[in-house]
Amino acid sequence: MTFSWTRVGAIFRKELRDYRRNRFVIFTMSALPLLFIVMTMVQLFALKTSVSSARLNDRIGLSMLYLLIIPTMVPSALTAYSVVGEREQGTLEPVLITPISREEFLVAKALAAFTPTIIIAYALFGVFLSAAELFAHPAVVAAIFERSHVLIQLLFTPLLAGWAIWMGIAISARSTDVRAAQQLAIVASLPPLAVVALMSFNIIPASVPLAITLAAGLLVLDIYGWRAVAAVFDRERLISGRVADGRRGARAGR
């Protein structure tokens, strides 16, 4: 049976409808980004132009790092619930009984977390740039646009979200408790952000080639993350809590 975007769309639409009516999701999608944009703005407007260029760059790096926490934390919270939450509610089995393949299911879940995350993250980045352009000191604005900060934001927002999504789904598929899954997913989403932080603080000197190289590396990790998730997603384990121990090749994983 070929990959069906109709089935992906069915789960995707269902997820978005469910998000809209879920207070926890609404809170996660609004409060968390709001907190980080406020912290970013405070950082931005507290900057003194009298400091050295390197120090100014560090402070801008820190303020923009807050923005990158959004595509890391928001999808972690969403995807950590995606499988184990459905399992707890009893809604997973009816879905797995349909012809949907695990690839379709995973892509649908990932897209449903990725889409709002990217919209929120880029929208807030736009708000940040607009506020900087309109209200910040010209030296600060120049520092924002001069270096690789904008490129890092644009490149790493979807890649960090991708990593967080696959980690969240993988942990969710192996967990038996929603809260444990959410905590683990947040921890697992952080390592790539640490690398970006090193670059933002100039511990690793930031440059366009380095940013692109690290982004390519993260893309590779995202691809491997996807494969890892596909490998741990097993219908039998999800339904019975055990892996099939029968004949080889008879796993009910598709």
Partner: protein
């Protein structure tokens, strides 16, 4: 209660051997050391309502999940809706069947229609609106289409789950304890829906604890307690397991019941179950009843009643399961 020796597990006599909706051949499922069910074989014909009975932990739900390709069997083989059971054939099999799990598993923050639209998409159905309207009408829920599922009672949620199971017009419909936890009115509603489906020729595989439900709805039943104990039509099982009997009640105990009952052509044996109450084992109740009545009148007895003893499916079930438990204890 007198019983015959339990007949060996056999293929159903009514189901055609070819072109069956389900063919299960020596299927076994183990979870590590624990056996969910073992060496189970049966066939279900197209258009048949097949009851799968058994106590908790007998392996009924695991069997449904295996045939629904959610679990892989440990050994044995099966054909579901004409397709050999395998992991590779999972999507094709799941496109042709439906399973209504014991728990409705609805998205409670979505409306009834939104739930059904989601699943219509998963089955890649055309004319989603029409299809959703048709299944809602089938379960009498058209007026609740826009209600959030969390506002529905348990009985209504079960009907939505049934509507969802009907969306893809399944070749085989698996109903796993469809009336579990429902009140009598909601149970009756679900029974009526199943009866309507049966009358439309839908093949139904029904697991249940409720024996009156199986007796009322199913063409044939199988009794499972990890392994298959018996399979057949409810009346066939009764005949296979119990001798036929006529119960006689007289106003006063008979002075010499042996003289009355022994020697009658159709009476194979008798026993006194209470004062003035006699259980006669007969070959043919219709032939035995007039003969017994004449003998009682000739003996001067005041006959209060003379009726055929009917064993329910529950008697059959309890007899088999109790015996199975005893055998396992030994």
């Amino acid at each position: 209660m007198t019983r015959r020796g339990a007949a060996p597990v056999s293929w159903g006599t009514d189901a055609p051997r070819s072109g069956s909706a389900l063919v299960v051949d020596h299927l076994t499922k183990r979870f590590g050391e624990r056996v969910a069910y073992q060496d189970v074989s049966f066939e279900v014909g197209y258009g048949e309502v097949f009851g799968f009975l058994g106590p908790n932990g007998a392996g009924k739900t695991t069997m449904v999940r295996t045939l629904g390709t959610l679990l892989a069997p440990t050994s044995g083989s099966a054909t579901v809706a004409g397709i050999a059971l395998s992991a590779e054939a999972g999507p094709q099999i799941r496109a042709r069947i439906s399973i209504m799990p014991e728990s409705p598993g609805l998205y409670l923050r979505l409306t009834v229609a939104e739930n059904l639209e989601c699943f219509a998409g998963l089955y890649e159905l055309g004319d989603v609106g029409e299809r959703v309207a048709a299944v809602l009408e089938a379960v009498n829920l058209t007026d609740r289409a826009n209600d959030l599922c969390r506002t529905l009672s348990k009985g209504l949620r079960q009907r939505v789950a049934l509507a969802r199971a009907l969306l893809n017009d399944p070749t085989v419909l698996f109903l796993d304890e469809p009336t579990s936890g429902l009140d009598p009115v909601a149970t009756r509603d679900v029974h009526d829906l199943i009866t309507a489906l049966r009358d439309r020729g839908v093949t139904i595989f029904l697991t249940t604890h409720r024996l009156e439900e199986a007796e009322r709805l199913c063409h044939r039943v199988a009794i499972l307690n990890t392994s298959l104990l018996l399979i057949g039509r409810p009346d066939e099982l009764r005949e296979r397991l119990f001798t036929r009997a006529v119960q006689v009640r007289t106003r006063a105990p008979l002075a010499d019941p042996r003289a009355v009952f022994e020697g009658l052509d159709h009476v194979e044996g008798w026993e006194q179950s209470a004062s003035g109450t006699y259980e006669l084992h007969v070959s043919d109740p219709d032939a035995a009843a007039p003969e017994v009545a004449r003998a009682l009148v000739a003996a001067g007895a005041d006959v209060l009643s003379l009726v055929e003893s009917r064993h329910s499916l529950e008697d059959v079930y309890l007899e088999l399961v109790d015996e199975d438990v005893e055998v396992r204890r030994r």
